[in-house]
Symmetry: C2
Subunit: 389 residues, 2 copies
């Protein structure tokens, strides 16, 4: 594992808005990790936090009641998907996304940039914006930074993201530099277009895997004074080492009072490393996507439930887990459900994986507050080694 | 609607076993309807009752916690499916089905007869039993009445069904007569093979749509003194009229103290008519199967949620329903989930449809006990006519 960079705090003056939105509760003395509280009109988010992903206005298979029961504090929804179906104007007429999906806690929407570049495959970028074809029906669409903010305003999440260009990995220096510059200009236009006072707007740091570009990305966004900063362009296929390098570059130059959001990352070990490097919020489809393919996270590592070795295994999935699935069912039953393609397999797997992720973040948060983060992380890796099977 | 036959009660001596298993709470004076309690080692079933269907050891998409929350008192599981996968011996090693699936309330298993004749398509019947090919992998299997009881004993449900031959609809008299005779001989072998004192064994009345054969079917089973009697061979494509004719023929000649189970039926109106004719328990895949195709039961009739008219319909599915789905979500959201093929659509639809069925049976039970069944049934049809849309 990489050694951790020493924390050097950057203090700046808080604006009233900043102070109201994010409050640090406890800072680690040995790393950039900190616990905090993000405040929104729909309630507080204790950080570091994990956001389950609710792409089309639903975390796959989970009801709001399920999510609340699991301790989810905030969910992420995708502006791109909701814009295409059922439409941002449609959601606005339904009094916004919270009302439409019956989730009264905080919501964050991404801006759609990532999906436009990863799902549509036919995106054409100009200074004005992006023209692309819907992955659903091939229909043509144009989204500019201004339109992206309008879409997010209509959807009505508590935290919204600036519209950015996402590059594939790897991309060369020149291409990355030009894209970063455009993303910064787009960020300015997003800031300009942003008007809803009840929505916090976060900027997205791009710059690929080039340190000077990442630095430029942070500085450009800081000048515009976003409510929070996100690290984008990661989890695109790079090794963990590269991802951590980027975090170690950008987080030390973000002022402490800005919430830091690591987009789309990742595996449990990525979260553990991210928190130690100062990340406050994460999102990732992994717990729910893995649930559907039968890959289950345990304290001992990942279990692939369809493996024949679990056929007659009457133990719970993870004996140290307190989730509904582990309290009631055996690996043998979970495997039976999965092999029979039963819907309950996905449900029980999703409940477990989300419980694991939310529990991991809760553990990290408590460890920060007890100044025992290093110990927590060491045990995290030890348990994997000792019980992996 | 057909007029109801006048009740003529048949009193016989109760055996100790009968008296312990089923108790009539209240009998209607104007019809064969009655409320009662079926007792098992895993708890009581208040009748008339509806059993959600848990084919492969799970009611599709519903956890035991969900089912308990919905008020389900008993579930039906299919011996045929469980025999093929994961295997009855496998379940026996897991300490029986209740333990394996974590459901501590009553379970009823059908014997597999219906599935062998409807799913496999290649069944060959001899006096000894049935040879068939698995619908899963084409493997060959032989099941005799004795083996069927052994399978059900290994699975370990509270109520188990005799092994019967199921004919397609329509079948001619001679074919039906020969099949009925064989089913009665098989019933005798099942009774002989039945040994677990904690399992109640029900006989299945066959005889197609021929009154004299149905009568013979009942008499033959009564001689063997089963713990309950089921009406089989219905819901095979016949009009409701024909189904009710059979009920009106067989139920008056079954002694009052035997629980009466109408297998595989059906739509809400079939349940309403069945209860008035003296049926105590029902099972049907309709609420969960319809949930998956977006067909939803309401007090005003069926709603097909994918219909464009619900696109901007902000009302709950059924304003008179108290289920989780109706308390939290609009038709517009349910339609959005269904069109986006989201898993939550199936979950919310299933929760609603099962709530509707279980609530309907609860309403019927209460109406019997308040001597207001006729009034309840009249209102059931009136609401459909007044609010259908």
């Amino acid at each position: 594992m990489r050694g951790l960079p020493k924390p050097t705090r950057i203090k700046t003056e808080y604006s009233a808005r900043d102070a109201g939105h994010f409050k640090i509760v406890h800072s680690s003395k040995t790393s950039f990790a900190r616990s905090g509280v993000i405040r929104t009109d729909h309630g507080e988010i204790e950080t570091p936090a994990f956001m389950p992903v609710g792409t089309a206005g639903t975390v796959k298979g989970m009801s709001p009641e399920d999510l609340t029961g699991l301790g989810a504090q905030v969910i992420l929804c995708n502006a791109y998907h909701l814009y295409l179906r059922p439409g941002d104007g449609f959601i606005e007429k339904r009094k916004g996304l919270h009302s439409f999906i019956s989730w009264d806690k905080p919501i964050l929407t991404d801006s759609g940039g990532y999906q436009i570049f990863s799902l549509t495959g036919l995106a054409r970028v100009t200074e004005e914006g992006v023209t692309f074809q819907s992955h659903l029906d091939g229909s043509r669409h144009f989204i500019s930074p201004e339109r992206a903010i309008e879409i997010e305003s209509n959807i009505g999440a508590d935290i919204i993201m600036a519209f950015d260009e996402c590059l594939p990995y790897p991309s060369d220096y020149e291409k990355t530099r030009l894209s970063l510059d455009r993303t910064l200009r787009w960020a300015g236009r997003c800031k300009e277009a942003h008007s809803r006072k009840d929505q916090f707007l976060y900027g997205i740091i791009q710059g690929g895997f080039y340190n000077d570009l990442r630095e430029k990305g942070v500085e450009g966004l800081l000048e515009m004074d976003f409510d929070g900063l996100a690290v984008g362009g990661l989890s695109v296929g790079e090794p963990q080492e590269k991802m951590l390098e980027v975090l170690e570059k950008v987080i030390p130059i973000i002022p402490d009072h800005k919430p830091r959001y690591l987009m789309g990352v990742g595996r449990p070990e990525d979260l553990v490393e991210g928190v130690q490097r100062g990340v406050d919020i994460f999102d990732c489809v992994l717990p729910t996507r893995h649930a559907r393919t039968g890959a289950l996270f345990t304290h001992g590592g990942e279990i692939h439930i369809k493996n024949a070795r679990y056929k007659e295994d009457d133990r719970p999935l993870d004996p140290d887990c307190g989730c509904y699935t582990c309290r009631h069912f055996s690996r043998a039953y979970l495997r039976h459900l999965f092999m029979a393609k039963e819907l309950l397999a996905i449900r029980l797997n999703s409940l477990h994986n989300l419980y694991y992720y939310l529990g991991l973040l809760k553990g990290l948060r408590q460890a920060i507050e007890k100044d025992s983060l290093e110990d927590f992380c060491r045990k995290f890796y030890q348990r994997r080694q000792s019980t992996q099977e």
